[in-house]
Amino acid sequence: MGTLLNYPQLSFIHRYAMRDISRSYKKLWVISTTLFISLLLLSLTFSIKQSMNEEIQANSKELLGGDIQINSGIEPLSTNTLERLAQLGQISEMIELGTMLTKQGDTPVFTQLRVVDSQYPLYGVMKTTPKDAAQKLFLSEAKPIVLINENIQNQLQLNVGDDVTIMGQNFAVGGVISSVPDIAQSAVFGEFAIINKAQFDKFNLKTGGSFLHNHYRLKISPDKTTEGIINEIESLFTGDKTVETRLPKDSVQSLRSAIDNFSNFLNLVAVSAMIIAGIGISNTLLSFVNQRNISIAVKKSLGFSSKVIQLIYFYEIILILILTSILAYFIGVLSPILANSLIPQAYGIELQPTFSILSYLNIAFIGLLVVLIFSIPSLYSINSIKAVALFRNTFQPVSLHFSTKNIFYLVILIAVLVCYFVLQTQQQFFTLVYFFAFFATIFIFYGVSRLLIFFLKRSFSFSNNSYKIAYRNIVAKKSLAPIMTISLGIGLTLLLTISFVANNLKTEISQSIPSIAPDVFFVSINKDEKNDLENLIRKLDPEVELEFMPMAGASFISINGIPIETIVSPDNRSSWIVQGDRRISWLEKPSEDNPIVKGEWWEPGITDQMFISMDSRAAFDLGMEIGDKITLNILGRDVTGVVKNFRKVDYRDISINFAIIINQAFANKLPFEYVGTLKSNFSTDEIQSKVVKEFPNISAIKIDRILSKVSEVLNKIFIAVTGISLVVIVIGLIVIVSAVLVQTTFRKYNNLIYKILGVNFPTILKAMTLEFVIIYLTLVFFAITVAVVGSYFVVENTLGLDWTFDSTLTLWIVLATAVVAFILIVIANKNIFSPKVYPLIRNE
């Protein structure tokens, strides 16, 4: 490394760099903006993720609603057990169920009903308007009271004091809930209401409703050790498959992994932005070095070593990095305040901005690595500027410098960056694959440019002046074609990939309201009620399409004798199938909507053995094979059956789809209820009202409400994705500008000479166009290919959708990018329109 730098030398470098920045800051804007935008993106994602996690951590007890939660499913815990629990601390009972809430003369609303006792909530507070509504709930007034959430209020235009009917019983609206602490337990988007458990018992509403669950929460007495009690309770229920215990850390697990997944995605976008910004930095630096060609040569003639000159420029970039990263960090830190206003109040989340030197250093370190990686090849090009040029008056443009030593440094730095980043994320494998794909893409485009030069050299040349100039520019020894190809290629590829993914998401949204879907879903239809219900509906609309399926509750115990918890991790995509209560159904013949993809249907009529048909994707995710032995707990009894086949289930059609279907002959003995779907040209509101009036226990769920909610969520995702891709596009464009800038410094002189020699303007313009068209056409094919592969991977594997290709969209993006990039090139080369000889003579 040569001699060490001393203090006066460092201070000289500092002063020189400061002077240089202040005199040529205009030339550094590309580096500053790209670095700033990408660092900001990084800082935003880190900061939001951190404050969300902190908020959730701080509130994990409130989110669970107690120190421990015990779920006993449909059956309540025995009085015995409850008494034992009561000795350990304060206990709060809750029943959750789905039911219809009706306002006289209005359409009923399917509601998530929470039945709570006066202990509720054990942690945190329930916020209502009017403020005292929560207390009123537990006063034993003549008329029972219900608290509703805003969604119900809006749909039914309810006011405090209005009457509503729930399961045939009249309630008065006592107030509107704005938030409850244990929101993690319920659907945030849906309609929900709270009633008093004493009244629920008094009017004996237990028989109604659907999806009924009993929950118990315990606040452990302060005089007892939490850990001991928790162990005691857990051992109390071991072996009892129907009871499940949850701790505060479990309650936040799903929320946290959702946040992690989203922030992982954002992180990847941010790091792509960083790397693209890196390419921009590399280009800008190179053009910077070339613009200072003479200055660098003069410094060398004065006896400055390359190292000192490199240090000056490197120092300038580091200063820019420090400034932009500090700015980006502070904006990022303050972003939770902005996020607070965007998060619905019902979540009860209040994010706090947290300053920490460590998280600043985290961002600055990633920025430093990227800057190092991308400035090394540019700065080392200084080595190849020779002072000799001052005697000969010829300044060869220099290009990125890759020596063995450089490559060695680069490999190490890239490895550090990748490891550092991957270690911070949850889905490490995907992140690794992503990085690999990204760097592979860079290499692909480098290869493409080499290929282009190779083929151009071999193809015969046209005797056209413009072509000759273009040809010479591309195949020249220090051609710009590789840099142009890589920058444009990466930019275009990213643009295409993100657009493809976003487009697939959008298609998904517009297709999520399919014509085949039913209008209304009926659940909790009693076996004996089914015929009456069917008659009633058919009387209202003889043309109606009506379908009923039997249904029973079951839970997953094991695959081939191995307990399911040990096989399936909570972040498995299909873990929902094996968690908690599942509903299963049965069929004797395969359904047309669910084609069998593997295995065979079963022999009908076998009553003493259970056969299982699984959703093919779930089977894949859970690692099941045909012939596996699966144990289900059906109504408290463990039953083992054999997997016979996998079906392709499309949950989007919202007809009655079950992940698990068993053979009818075996299921005939089980107690069950029905679910039904209905599709009618008749007013479904009217059918729904009549049904709910006649059968207060049946819940009728209108599909369009669910769908509109689903599409609301998807739309938000779409907007977020579009917004993020916009940032990437902006950075991509800046990079393209930087590539053009590199060109400009190279070309200025050449164009001037051409002009002086009398090559006319149209010829130069034609040559420029031709050169661009040749490079762009070559890279388009590869950009589309990489984008197709990348987006296919994301859409099919990560989002779990069916990938489709949109050729019109592709064409538009390819054309638009071409036009924008070319206009930028022309603007950047505008000096060819009026070449000024003056600055060249005046030594500017």
Binding site: F12, G303, K307, F391, E844
Partner: protein, 226 residues
């Protein structure tokens, strides 16, 4: 014997310089030898393409000779690495180019200071001002090169070469871009300085009247000393 101990500032012994151009081998310098004493001014003349500039580049350590030995104050420089060459250059040699080559975004004084800063000499603004004053540029100290005339630019360039008190000055047609009047001013500045500080000067020029003002003339012809 005091005189024998006194070493030559520059010593070329059997130096050759060749460039390979495709299959062709261009012999630029053909085994030339000469030396320049430490207080001697020497001019190099010869037709275009005879290798004058090449000699300057070799002496400055900016070009590698194909063969032979080049010594600067007895130190062999032909086998040195770039860093060591940089050091010899900044400590011993001042270069003046035909096309001045001032750094465009530095002012006159900053351009001059740069050559001190290369030697890690800082905060010598007064000396730089003084020298620029001697060169009649006191009123142009804070001007950018683009705001200076050609003659002024060349005087700044010479100040830049001299400020560091080099023992050797190499000048490649320093007057080539100047008119007769400016050429004379320039030549006077250079010769006054070299005489005053006993510095050696190697001056490449086409102008025979300028050449004759040096102590000795070396004539080059087709890579040979005539």
């Amino acid at each position: 014997m005091v005189f024998e101990e006194m070493s030559a500032a520059i010593e070329f012994s059997n130096v050759s310089l060749e460039y390979g151009l495709g299959n062709e081998l261009i012999k630029v310098l053909k085994c030339i030898s000469f030396s320049v004493n430490s207080d001697e001014t020497v001019s190099i003349v010869g037709p275009s393409g005879s290798g004058k500039t090449s000699i300057i580049m070799l002496a400055a350590g900016l070009e590698k000779s194909t063969d032979g030995s080049i010594k600067i104050y007895d130190q062999e420089i032909t086998n040195l690495k770039e860093n060591d060459l940089s050091q010899i250059r900044r400590q011993n040699i001042g270069i003046v180019f035909q096309s001045f080559y001032l750094i465009p975004n530095l002012t006159a004084i900053e351009n001059v200071l740069l050559s001190l800063e290369a030697n890690q000499k800082y905060d010598l603004d007064n000396e730089a001002k003084e020298l620029l004053g001697e060169f009649g540029l006191s009123h142009r100290i804070n001007h950018l090169p683009s705001e200076l005339s050609g003659g002024e630019q060349q005087r700044v360039a010479i100040a830049r070469a001299l400020i560091n008190k080099p023992k050797i000055i190499l000048a490649d047609e320093p007057t080539g871009n100047l008119d007769g009047e400016n050429s004379k001013i320039m030549m006077k500045l250079l010769l006054d300085y070299t005489k005053k500080s006993k510095t050696s000067l190697v001056l490449v020029t086409h102008d025979t009247s300028l050449a004759q003002r040096c102590d000795r003339i070396i004539e080059l012809n087709d890579g040979n000393i005539a």
